[in-house]
Symmetry: C2
Subunit: 453 residues, 2 copies
């Protein structure tokens, strides 16, 4: 006998069994429904691209994480590690065909060969939405509002969205005289929550001197209401500026939309990524802030600079699907179902499959998921034997249906086709183990409450 | 200035712009809805697996096509080239946790680095559905019925599904004395439509001798009604057998379900793949048979033999999404829309974004897709200037909305919040270029027929 291969998957990768996959899909479908309601359109790009496209002129940390190899034509190729870089390439390549401001969403898998720590995967789904080709505060606001409303719609509860303006921080740094090292400073500030104030002060002092570090810590700790914070940041950064005006405009939008409770101005939010230049956001769940930001993003002024001379600005965010799922799961708010079909039709004799399918079809045409149950294992017996243990087989199908997550089993009248108006069906309630006779299709739809949406 | 990287993708790979991606998603969503209506559940597996899992002990032709490389831990890994092999591994790995008969669907991308001919892609989506753990004819029938109904539901019209039984053909070959070379014969027969009868005869003669070739050609050309064909095949294969009984049972199911027009028994259908052992199917569109089979599959008796001693039998099919899209497109039956949002709200001043979003939100909460239009390019002017060219900006937004695929633009009363009952909205019909004043949200929902499903 041939030696068996052990069935296993690579570390950091995941299989999704039906219940987990149904939960993921239900969540993603809700998110996608919202994207569409806001007029966002989907795109798709290849999983595999030229390495040069994905890494540009060498990406440091990123480069080490990328799955990279030579393809059959000896081309240097790599699996995408995020959806932003392919999007930048996409916008540069099709800028003549797209209608700007272009609002797109992209939900797809990405791959990173990094050390797989707890909760870090080598294959995961990103869920990005962006508006490119508009500098308007209305675009910044739309992304913010969507983050709040999507989290609410998927059952994650109220969002606390912390916003900041990178440009204003840079203006402050310029005034303080440490502008040149701003990327390093942004990264240090971004670590505040993780490493604490003392360590951040030390890091900042190395870059900006002791005095600079103190000034930066004062700036990033400015608290109070949105408007109070804004006034203090304006003063620290040399007075009113286009950046403070933008932040004021956003506050007006927020209050006009009745969304003041969801947003706060937090000067310590910087986002580590270099390419943000304007508003940046991080989103926490009011009920579960400890899991960290579940949706973040910001404004950039040159998305596709690697591929095009045209400066393409935009604003966008990315939903952390895995974190959200963990949060929803821990609070019992994740869909917990093993199947969509709560209703099943018993079919104990294989020669009845045509009749049983015709019956099930009447529910399906009404938009109700309805499975026809099948015999397991070896081929079902001949007609004579089948009749003999029809009862036993029916019981086995009840057990099977319950294990699959169905709530009711319909038992068609033996051998008879279910007519359009005939009341010759029985319904087994799997939880109560009660069977009701003399029902028609409409009766069952009403009794089970399986009305389509 | 830095040298730009030319934005391009690998040959055989595709970007999907919004209209194409909307069409694909609409189609896939319809297919998925049907899978769920039949009680099928989704799973997902990694794109990247151990090469040993995907290729077993070396896969000949397959091996050459697989994207294979060494990962960061020097593991021999490969991108999946189909969904069947990962499914086999999945069933072997989780057979203790799954409820059998297990009905699963899997819609996901696969990769093959083959020479990309016309219409052949190196990255494409497979759409598989299988029932494993049942030998019942009822399972064979369910897959057949689903192929027919799914094609009807997605607007591909009537299906002509050609079925055959591999086991019956083998029984015939055994009787003819050429059983040992059956895999080679199956492959030769599978080429009949492509290479013609003369060439097939030559191929078969090489394997089975001149007499054998004639006998095989007689067998595979047996025509007539389903029942006539079945009688002839029974006679040629040595009389009634479990295989002819299975085919008779299926015919009973087909006729009971009123689906006789959709199915025919065609002994020339063999499917090239070695692992089929029972019923095999190929599906053609009645209106467009020339594009070839758009959905095919069959029954196998040992899905996971590489990974498990348990024999796991099943039956399944795979929908050829790219072919279907081509067929639907050529007949104008593919969704042709650039956006889901037929309705848009004009927003010419960025300070009105809060008010405009609140208005749009009323449509969205009713399930209607509604985009808020934004200014393009450089930041919108200050309030004073904005008022001056409000008219010009509004016209630009009409043009933008039309290009995006919207049909109507709502113009909120200048500066005023749209109250719950106020009739202070105007509606621009982009096709007729007519604007109607004095409308409320409900009026607009009625006028535009944008009632949610």
């Amino acid at each position: 006998m041939a030696v068996l291969i052990e069935p296993k998957i690579l570390k950091g990768f995941r299989d999704f069994l039906p219940a987990a996959e149904i939960a993921r899909r239900t969540l993603v479908e809700k998110i996608e429904t919202d994207f569409r309601l806001y007029g966002f359109v989907p795109i798709d790009t290849p999983a595999l691209e030229y390495t040069e496209i994905l890494l540009g002129k060498g990406g440091g940390e990123t480069e080490k994480q990328v799955y990279r190899f030579r393809d059959h034509g000896d081309r240097d190729v790599a699996l995408r590690y995020d959806l932003t870089v392919p999007f930048a390439r996409f916008v540069a390549q099709y800028r003549g065909e797209l209608v700007f401001p272009f609002k797109r969403y992209h939900i797809a898998k990405v791959w990173r060969g990094e050390n797989s720590q707890r909760g870090r995967y080598r294959e995961f789904t990103q869920c990005d939405f962006d508006i490119v080709g508009s500098d308007s505060a209305a675009a910044d606001f739309e992304i913010m509002l969507m983050m709040r409303n999507i989290l609410r719609d998927i059952g994650a509860g109220e969002a606390r969205i912390r916003i900041n303006h990178r440009g204003l921080f840079n203006r402050f740094l310029e005034k303080t005289g440490v502008r040149s090292a701003s990327a390093a400073i942004l990264r240090a500030v971004d670590k505040l929550a993780k490493i604490g104030e003392t360590e951040t002060r030390r890091l900042l002092a190395d870059i900006a001197g002791t005095e600079g570090a103190e000034a930066i810590l004062t700036y990033i700790s400015a608290g109070g209401t949105y408007e109070e914070t804004l006034s203090r940041l304006a003063a620290l950064s040399g007075g009113e500026s286009p950046e403070t005006e933008r932040l004021r405009l956003l506050w007006r939008n927020i209050t006009d939309a009745g969304a003041a409770d969801s947003f706060m101005l937090d000067p310590s939010i910087t986002r580590g990524l270099d390419y943000y230049t304007g508003i940046v956001y991080e989103t926490f769940l009011a009920d579960d802030p400890a899991i960290g930001s579940v949706c973040s993003g910001g404004r950039y002024d040159n998305l596709a600079g690697l591929y095009s001379k045209d400066r393409i600005s935009g604003v966008g965010a990315s939903i952390g699907l895995d974190r959200l799922i963990a949060a929803l799961e821990s609070r019992g708010r994740l869909a917990e179902q093993k199947t969509w079909a709560r209703l099943a039709v018993a079919c104990v004799r294989e020669e009845d499959a045509g009749v049983c399918q015709t019956l099930a079809e009447r529910f399906r045409r009404a938009g109700i998921c309805c499975e026809v149950l099948l015999e397991t294992g070896a081929a079902a017996g001949k007609t004579g034997e089948a009749d003999k243990d029809a009862e036993k087989k029916l019981t086995r199908q009840f057990i099977q249906a319950e294990k699959k997550g169905a709530a009711w089993v319909i038992i068609p009248a033996s051998g008879a086709a279910a007519g359009e108006t005939a009341r010759n069906l029985a319904l087994r309630d799997l939880a109560s183990r009660r069977t009701t006779d003399g029902l028609g299709v409409e009766d069952i739809i009403k009794m089970t409450g399986q009305l389509p949406d």
